[in-house]
């Protein structure tokens, strides 16, 4: 689901960009490889991370998002960089062949996708063997997501079940290079780097 205006204001600002950039930087630390790596950002939003990776590594980076408005901002941001491109697409049905990318990044996105498990399946499908999945989300308790979905002004939040996520990661042949779950008031947050065997 697309973000509403309030959430966009929370994300598309200086602090939001700085936060996501430093998180991406931290998680990218675990990725080994050279310029030839191909990156996909699932739910790239205003393209902050795509821009960062494209400039830092000079690698090919594709950003997908369901929100054309966000993609417009993203295209403006990368300002014609030849190695960055954007496609309007749904994370639960990625327009790519199997094993197309070496690194898939998805930061704070699954928490907005009702069929988040389907999106995870798609991410796994397009990832090459030995590829990396850089992931972060806020894990809202179900009481919060129920409340959120009962109001028109809701953020479209869903609860990513950590137990389900962990068993998916295990069963899909990922190994955990790094994972950190934090308590934040009533929520938890997770950031992780998984690698496909």
């Amino acid at each position: 689901m697309k973000m509403n205006l309030i959430e966009k204001a929370l994300v598309n600002n200086y602090w939001g960009r700085k936060r996501i950039r430093s998180l991406a930087e931290k998680l990218l630390h675990y990725v080994e490889g050279d310029q030839k790596l191909e990156f996909l950002d699932v739910g790239c939003g205003d393209g902050e991370v795509v821009d960062y990776i494209a400039r830092k590594y000079g690698s090919r980076v594709v950003g997908i998002d369901i929100d054309a408005g966000q993609l417009e901002l993203a295209r403006k941001k990368v300002n014609g960089l030849a190695n960055a491109s954007f496609i309007e697409a749904d994370a639960t049905s990625l327009p790519f062949a199997d094993s197309s990318f070496d690194v898939v990044v998805s930061l704070g996105v699954l928490q907005h996708i009702t069929n988040w498990e389907g999106a995870l399946g798609e991410i796994t499908r397009v990832l090459r063997e030995g590829g990396y999945f850089l992931y972060s989300d806020i894990i809202y308790p179900e009481t919060v997501t129920r409340m959120d979905s009962s109001t028109k002004a809701g953020f479209g939040l869903v609860t990513v079940d950590l137990d389900k996520l962990n068993s998916f990661i295990k069963e899909s042949g990922f190994s955990t290079l790094y994972a950190s779950t934090n308590k934040m008031l009533v929520c938890r947050s997770i950031e992780a780097v998984y690698r496909r065997k």
């Binding site: 190994s175 955990t176 290079l177 790094y178 994972a179 950190s180 779950t181 934090n182 992780a192």
Partner: protein, 422 residues
């Protein structure tokens, strides 16, 4: 939700006469051991006398270890030690004289003075070392220690617990030191501020006791109140011949309320080096670049145990210390020294051109036995590389494991053991 407690919360609840405690609670904790050393004891003793009590709460539970500037390096040190010694004689508290003493955090576990489930407070920041035994151990100021010596109680705020899970098999030459340096590098020097760090995972289950002591020792470098390991067969094996009193093994509840859970793939970690001037400034040894060194120190409460000396000897065996490097090896206790002698390690060190010292904290804190001049660089198995820590404020300290320190001593610059040994 019922009362689901972490390991540290269980120990603190039991020692405060409560069924349950929560992070943030202020509690009075009864202590099983109060520790001080030659630097901190004199201040504690003066405060103790000011309180006006005559006797310590339990002489068996008060220990003073003169280890920082001993054998006395100067008159001031001698006066400090004299005061501590006389206090222990008067109070019949436990005192380890030169000849029986060792570096406190190596010595106390070795002597069976700390057991699982106990609460230990010490006037030394690295008191947290005993977390390796499944005890709650924390450093405090001398005045708190004076009060603890008087009444056997301390007040504290219950820390929240962060859990660190390590997966996979460690690569060759990678040890507990590298795990903790890597972790501090990840979370920063305040990453666990006033928290308890609980270590778990199959890597930890396979880690030696000496490796666990090293890890617990350095939790304070991440700002932690305490570090703790679950008691397993290795722990029980370690204390079997040492424990002379009953103890309780606590287990954390399933689904205990961890503030944060961090997982690492430990098999991907290579030997780490903390560059000046912060223990969090860590990089893999292969990324250090060309750094010439003047001194290498192998020892301390972090890495002065038998396993550490064995590793150093494996690297130094049949090799020569670089002619421009002073390599100082300091066994952590008389027992470690004796065992190292029996195993021929001391001979290996001396033949390679290293000097072997009696147990002391010595150079780690710029005390004696290897203080640095301006512009000098030292690779050290100790725990702190702050500005001026080992001497001149213009010197530099690089922290590493014993294998890296030994290899660097041979090479004359910071290198990994693979570059020197097979």
């Amino acid at each position: 939700m019922g009362d689901v407690l972490t390991l540290v919360e269980k120990i603190l609840a039991a020692h405060s006469g409560r069924k349950s405690v929560r992070p943030g609670d202020f509690i009075n904790v009864s202590v099983d051991l109060v520790l001080a050393n030659d630097i901190t004891a004199p201040i504690a003793i003066r405060e103790f006398e000011r309180i006006g009590v005559k006797r310590v709460f339990d002489p068996k539970k008060v220990v003073i270890v003169p280890d920082h500037f001993t054998p006395n390096k100067d008159i001031a040190a001698a006066e400090q030690v004299k005061l501590a010694r006389e206090f222990c004689y008067t109070q019949q508290a436990t005192y380890f004289e030169v000849g029986t003493m060792g570096i406190e955090h190596v010595l106390l576990p070795e002597k069976g003075l700390v057991l699982p489930g106990e609460v230990v407070v010490g006037a030394d920041s690295h008191t947290c070392t005993y977390g390796a035994l499944g005890a709650f151990a924390t450093g405090m100021g001398s005045t708190d220690i004076a009060a603890a010596m008087a009444i056997g109680d301390v007040w504290m705020k219950v820390p929240a617990t962060m859990k660190f899970v390590y997966h996979g098999k460690l690569a060759r030459w990678v040890s507990g030191k590298d795990l903790i340096l890597y972790t501090i590098g990840d979370i920063g020097v305040d990453g666990a501020l006033y928290m308890a760090m609980e270590f778990a995972g199959e890597t930890i289950a396979n880690l030696s006791m000496d490796g666990r002591f090293t890890m617990a020792n350095m939790v304070i470098e991440a700002g932690a109140k305490a570090g703790i390991f679950l008691v397993d067969d290795r722990t029980l094996d370690y204390i079997k011949s040492r424990a002379d009193r009953p103890y309780t093994v606590y287990q954390p509840d399933d689904d205990a309320g961890y503030l944060k859970v961090v997982e690492y793939d430990a098999s991907a970690i290579e030997p780490q080096v903390a560059l000046p001037h912060s223990p969090a400034n860590t990089v893999p040894v292969s990324h250090v670049g060309e750094v010439k060194i003047d001194q290498a120190v192998i020892g301390s409460c972090t890495n002065g145990r038998l396993e550490d000396l064995r590793i150093a000897a494996r690297v130094l065996g049949g090799r020569k210390i670089h002619p421009k490097v002073r390599c100082i090896v300091i066994p952590g206790s008389q027992q470690v020294y004796l065992d190292a002698l029996d195993e021929g390690l001391i001979k290996t060190f001396i033949k390679s051109g290293a000097v072997v010292s009696t147990p002391t904290c010595g150079p780690c804190l710029g005390g004696h036995m290897g203080v640095l001049a301006a512009g000098e660089r030292c690779i050290s198995t100790t725990n702190r590389n702050f500005v001026g820590r080992m001497g001149s404020p213009e010197s530099e300290v690089y922290l590493a494991n014993p294998a890296v320190a030994a290899a660097s001593a041979v090479a004359g610059s910071i290198v990994g053991p693979e570059d020197v040994a097979r």
